[in-house]
Symmetry: C2
Subunit: 248 residues, 2 copies
DNA sequence: CGCATCATTGAACAAAATCAAGCGAGGTGG
DNA sequence: CCACCTCGCTTGATTTTGTTCAATGATGCG
């Protein structure tokens, strides 16, 4: 949490919010004026702990984060994944105590923005306030979709669905190839996100490969049959609310 | 959707928001000026359908609502329950297309508030804007908790947890007795909320009874051992963020 | 090279779904 | 008032899905 960064990092935030809402030139300007302090994290390092009362929000610059809860019975539930441009703990602006933790899945760079600065900004720029709110609402929409998946979808559909979602999200920020993307997750982490055991994730992924829907080369996930994968995952991207103009 | 109601209904909203945030006299005044149009619904009737683009929000006056998704495979996932004072579709203010449906679990009375009126109010009263935002964030926190439950808790713990949550929420609006509350859910609906089959819900509830944690008399759920039930459900109410002063 | 992490495999086990009937209380119409 | 019907609860038997345990490969990295 040291140096004061400027251009390329803030722009990530601008691009993200523009993918979600319509911003004016002044809005953009104001965003670029936000004070960021950058910090790096190693894989598996926890950034914000459940129970804490943060005074700042995290903007993901590079890497891959997740939100999770550790449960009394020893299990762990991953509730969301976050890619560059996301602000995973925006909710801490109005929910003072963290009800979950935030951690790095792979080595990541994160920029911290003081709550004060964000609240100021929101007060001065209603469009940005709305965009932030909307961001947290989309968050909620994704939780709902995950809940439906974990509650009512087969493990096969669940895993297919997750791959569809990640593909779309990586595409949106230009981090996907034409035919796939780098999947920075272990099978164990996939299980923790979908409520499955590692062993079962392994077996279902083998099925997905056998069925010609995906292929893996190291950490790279090839989508071999996009239509088939979407169908297998019952995937309809509506819940991502990615159309910024939808707001109108 | 006819008559223009005044006092007792608006006050429900005031009370709810005050349980979540600190309001000034002007804020309260403004809330009481909101235009409401009231409508009744029968049990199992859907109020807002997935895919719709509502221009109003629902304020629950009496009864019990739930949000749910019907899945392609025939299943259904209930994502949340809502009691008098709640605004279950507040997210529609900024997410124009419903990604789920809203329905009445039992006969219910609902007041509709035009989006325009709410957005106006929020623009004029920053504290109310914050309170609304916070309301949707708590919503999200509950989704996360449910996700953890469905993903990683035993069916026994899940059911116990749900009963704990409902007890607390009913208590908060004065709809609970000292030793329990009227549970307006069928075992089938409990299953749809927790990702379990009706049969299994039935068997686990028998266990909860056998273990002396609960008892049922008709629709009334007696809490026989509150400490035990909380422990069985791994229930920690922190995720409900019910302390309005927490915001400070 | 050697260790650590992750992927994979097989076998045994457990949890929960499914299928298929009964049962019982509350409400309705004759 | 009572037969009847419906909806929700309960039960038992069976099957499916997924977990757990315990190794064994594979891969990458210092």
């Amino acid at each position: 949490m040291e140096l004061r960064v400027s251009n390329p990092d803030q722009e990530k935030l601008v691009r993200k919010l523009e993918s979600i809402a319509v911003l004016s030139a002044e809005d953009r300007e104001a965003l670029l004026g936000l004070p960021l302090s950058v910090k790096g994290y190693a894989a598996d390092q926890t950034i914000v702990f459940e129970g804490e009362r943060p005074h700042q929000c995290c903007l993901v610059l590079t890497g891959f984060l997740c939100r999770f809860k550790d449960l009394p019975n020893g299990g762990r539930q991953i509730m969301s994944f976050h890619i560059p441009g996301d602000i995973p703990d925006l909710q801490s602006l109005h929910l003072k105590v963290m009800d979950h933790s935030l951690g790095a899945v792979e080595p990541s760079k994160v920029a911290f923005i003081p709550h004060r600065a964000l609240l100021d900004l929101a007060a001065r720029h209603p469009a940005l306030a709305a965009a932030f709110w909307r961001e947290t609402l989309i968050d909620g929409a994704i939780f709902r979709e995950w809940l439906a998946g974990v509650g009512r979808r087969s493990s096969y559909a669940r895993i297919a669905h997750l791959f569809c979602e990640l593909f779309i999200k990586f595409q949106a920020v230009g981090l996907a190839e034409e035919d796939g993307f780098r999947l920075p997750l272990t099978q164990n982490e996939i299980g923790d996100a979908l409520g499955l055991s590692t062993v079962h994730v392994n077996r279902v992924m083998q099925e997905l490969r056998k069925d010609g829907l995906i292929a893996t080369r190291g950490k790279f996930l090839h989508i071999e049959d996009w239509a088939g994968l979407k169908q297998a995952g019952e995937f309809d991207p509506a819940y991502l609310h990615m159309d910024a103009s939808e707001v109108a």
